[in-house]
Amino acid sequence: MEELAARRGAEAEEVIRIRGLRKRYGDVAAVDGVDLTVYRGEIFGILGPNGAGKTTTLEMVEGLRRPDEGEIEVAGYDAVRESGRLKGIIGVQLQTTALFDYLSVEETLALFSDLYGAGGSRRERVLRLLEMVSLAEKGRERVSRLSGGQQQRLSIALALVNDPQVVFLDEPTTGLDPQARRNLWEMVREIRAQGRTVVLTTHYMEEAEELCDRVAVMDHGRVLVCDTPLSLIRSLEVDATVLVTVDGRPDGGLERLPGVRGVERSGGDVRLRTADVQETIIGLMRLASERGVRLRNLTVQSANLEDVFISYTGRSLRD
């Protein structure tokens, strides 16, 4: 983290600073000592499986939950003691966004614009936001008649209604189809281009990898590691996964192939996690011809954040 700050030089200004954050529910430590620093103007991702403590962390920053311990400072405000003032300068999208069913899209935006006491022309603001989230044609539609993706976009527009410095998006793409997800990523990049800081949670590693400038990987209420996606992947000793379908039984030997760090089998499908793709594949071919088995569907997958998660937890993100 220090390295990144140094690279950015003077422009790397801390906008969120979380230290020693803890929250317990009964015997369960939902957030168990989290430290995070977010810099102004970046897209910061919190990646982790369900129940990792991502949402709880976010909700404490947003003022929805009170931390048991720790400090949160956002744009110079203490998130616990100055929660009222902080709410005015942050934009929030909650994980489950239900809005008032009987209001139209425009009416909803206008209402929230007033609830935030946003200045300037309300009409202009509403139209600009609708344009930005591609809902200009749905302005008069009732919220209840929007599709899931459209509702999600509306809730992003709501998170921007007060011209916030920092925007929090809690699993913004969960439940969206791939096209809708890509559209939403574009919107998030546009928010960054407007000079705002974005903090989002996700359990999709592609999302964290493609969209986020920096990623904190969370599990069991703790931050395992935090850096740019590229640095996280480069720090791994594994650099790819070789996927192959094996006809016949190449029993044994797979683990001993050069570079291999882990083997998973399901039926004839084999996943080899390797630190040296070239040596592993050469070794694999040799093994196959020596034993007379056929290999099909050979695929090489570069290491990704999934592998980062596996290397820290020993389990897959999807488990």
Binding site: K87, T96, D114, L115, G117
Partner: protein, 366 residues
């Protein structure tokens, strides 16, 4: 302030667009008024049966009795005995009893005693007016001289206890204020909480007090419209009695509607606070409101009920709302004479909101 009015405006829009809510707000109580209005209408506009005692005691009395018989309004029944007539009036068989004096001293006017059933407000009014009208015809005869006929009207408390629109309509209005306040608010609020709308409001700088306040203000506006529509309908269709001048009746009814709405909204917020699901809010709301419907004298006057039931009724806020509305609307009683009703409703509102604050929750779940 702009945020507050914007929230009130949004609430009103949502209320107007929610068909289910509109049904409970207007259609349901309107159906009650229509149904009971037709069942128990006292046909005051059509005819009235009048018993006449001593109808032939003097020429003038005979002429007046004939005049009544000729009028399309009265059906006249000649009686011998005053007491028997009044008894039948009390039992609702007659709408009026006219007693002519057995003899008239020369030079004296004909003194007629008219008995009407005080509990049937509109009938008794119409009957008194019709008798007076016939008497006036004799007084304004060709020889303008001293008064020939003088009518003194006396009210009798009927046994039927005014099971009429005058009794029922204000009661039904009170009922719908209660249901809107307790059930309507509690279920709507639990839904907002369950679906996370409350949390969305919570992450804005708009304060909770503002949100609740806006909800209350918009509810009061809705209640006032609702009361005006329902009572207006009862007035137009069934001649609901308006006691006193319109301005003070409207003011009195408005005050009681607001007090009643506040009392039941307080209970509604409390129910919303302790219910984790819409279903439980619904059940609890019904548990609170249903007994009141029957014990607070909405469908029948509680004065006839056993004493224990009257004691129970005195503990129910709905009794005070129904009574306040009835008194101001039908009898034109001034609010200064109804301080028990006012105090009871204020106390309910206070207790309700204190409990509501104590049990308020932002988050869904148990």
């Amino acid at each position: 302030m702009r945020a507050f009015f914007s929230m009130v405006g949004a609430n009103l829009k949502m209320q107007a667009r929610n068909r289910t809510a509109l049904f409970w707000l207007l259609v349901f109580p309107a159906l009650f008024i229509l149904l009971f209005g037709f069942l128990f209408s006292d046909d005051s506009g059509l005819t009235a049966t009048a018993g006449v005692v001593n109808g032939g005691s003097s020429p003038l009395a005979a002429r007046m009795t004939e005049a009544m018989e000729r009028s399309s309004f009265f059906e006249v029944e000649r009686l011998r005995d005053r007491e028997a007539g009044i008894q039948r009036l009390k039992e609702g068989e007659l709408d009026a009893v006219l007693v002519f004096p057995e003899r008239v001293a020369p030079g004296e006017p004909l003194r007629v005693e008219a008995y009407v059933d005080r509990s049937k407000l509109s009938t008794s009014q119409a009957v008194s007016a019709a008798i007076q009208q016939i008497a006036d015809r004799f007084n304004r005869g060709p020889q303008r001289g001293p008064e020939l006929v003088s009518v003194s009207t006396r009210g009798v408390q009927g046994r039927e206890l005014g099971y009429t629109i005058d009794y029922l309509a204000p009661g039904f209005v009170a009922m719908s204020i209660m249901q809107n306040g307790v059930l309507g608010l509690a279920t709507a609020f639990v839904v907002l909480r369950e679906r996370g709308v409350l949390r969305r409001i919570r992450v804005t700088p708009f304060p909770l007090v503002g949100f609740i306040g806006a909800r209350i203000v918009s509810n009061l506006i809705v209640v006032l419209c609702q009361v005006a529509i329902l009572l207006g309908m009862a007035r137009a269709l069934f001649g609901l009695h308006v006691g006193g001048d319109v301005a003070s009746v409207v003011a009195g009814v408005a005050v009681f509607s607001i007090l009643g709405a506040l009392a039941f909204l307080g209970i509604g917020f409390f129910v919303a606070g302790i219910s984790s699901k819409v279903e439980s809010a619904n059940t609890l709301g019904n548990l609170i409101t249903f007994p009141m419907l029957f014990l607070a004298g909405i469908f029948f006057p509680i004065t006839q009920a056993p004493n224990w039931m009257q004691d129970v009724a005195r503990a129910l806020p709905l009794s005070y709302l129904a009574d306040g509305l009835r008194q101001t609307m039908v009898y034109g009683t001034s609010i200064s004479h109804l301080w028990t009703d006012v105090a009871a409703l204020l106390a309910t509102a206070l207790v309700g909101f204190l409990l509501a604050v104590r049990f308020f929750r932002w988050e869904p779940g148990a």
